[in-house]
Symmetry: C2
Subunit: 217 residues, 2 copies
């Protein structure tokens, strides 16, 4: 586990555990079900945020409650104290996974769009979220992302102005067994969005925390 | 500001700023409005989580999308690397405020139930969330919380088994100008919950990011 060790001995937590106050670990699912987490991984420029936003909108119009948590939003807020070293990426992924777990348990279909290049970090995220975690591999190759370069990052990285850039001087470990693969190279973006939204809807009907209603005569 | 300094120079962020990629800072409000954040502060055992959960349920039944983020859930996940020193409390409050900001921008009425004893940390949280931040003071005094002691923490603290315990060997700075005060000493809990839910509904109609619809003849 790459999870950071506690900074201080947390006596409260021990006390909490002793008194059995686990009621908030799976807190407060006001909708009485927990929603899936769609974890989109892929290179910068692969189309993760675009697909997540598109699928989120499709689902919202159909009454689903959704949220999109993407790398830029995290870097601007929750993870703004973190850089791009392997250790900091691990912590950034950990925080994203904990936010996703909170939202999921509140019945919010959660799209996380984050490069998250390391298999171990994604495995830890899956462990934090539980059975509702779905790994979505946005399979867009380096050459395609580099040609798109929507934020100008590839240019800066190849000029040596950005270090630890995924795909260049920092590795991307593609998922070995993703739950879903979308390719923005071979598919129309609208088709990828529909595929993702369809998958998310399907996943939402298989919440492990909810039993099926009994059929009535 | 008690916000941590970046651990590494974030060249990506600089590059992002240069290319104007601010689109995700206020991302993705699929409901096209941002929901209020109700930030409940008060001593341990004051009733913060109980009131937040109660108000959340009332709102959910009326079609609002809500989430409750409380101290126990944070300590079990997102902030499990943090202790109870002033510095760690500041970071825990910062993370909670960033999660609240993300949820708020996704149209989710967000209840944060966190001791958050220091005025400066709550001021930083207000700054992170913006105009949708509402400080709710759950005004329950030490003697009452100590008598309730639902988690057995007061007993442990007075035995010296917990340090930095708010109200005992760590101060609680009551809000000077809270947006709402609820007292679980003088009010019936149901009345406090109704008061909080009413306030939250009212706040939701005053989202600074939304203009009022034009009246039609």
């Amino acid at each position: 586990m790459k999870v950071s060790a506690p900074k201080t001995v947390n006596i409260h937590e021990t006390a909490l555990a002793a008194t059995g106050v686990a009621r908030h670990i799976h807190p407060i699912a006001p909708t009485a079900w927990a929603a899936p987490v769609l974890w989109l991984t892929g290179l910068s420029g692969a189309g993760k945020s675009t697909l997540a936003i598109g699928a989120s909108r499709l689902l919202e119009r159909r009454g689903f409650r959704t949220i999109v948590i993407d790398g830029d939003a995290l870097r601007a807020g929750l993870s703004k104290d973190l850089g791009f070293s392997a250790e900091d990426r691990a912590e950034s992924v950990r925080r994203a996974s904990e936010v996703a777990a909170l939202c999921s348990r509140a019945g919010i279909t959660t799209f996380v769009a984050l490069v998250s290049p390391f298999e171990i970090d994604r495995a830890n995220a899956r462990a934090a979220v539980g059975g509702l975690f779905h790994e979505v591999y946005v399979d867009t190759d380096y050459a395609t992302c580099r040609a798109r370069d929507p934020k100008g990052l590839y240019k800066l990285a190849e000029q040596g102005k950005i270090r630890n850039f995924t795909g260049l001087d920092s590795p991307y470990e593609a998922p070995a067994h993703p739950d879903l693969v979308v390719s923005t190279m071979s598919e129309d973006p609208a088709a990828s969005i529909l595929k993702l939204a369809t998958y998310a809807m399907h996943a939402s009907l298989h919440s492990p925390l909810e039993s099926l209603p009994a059929a009535s005569a």
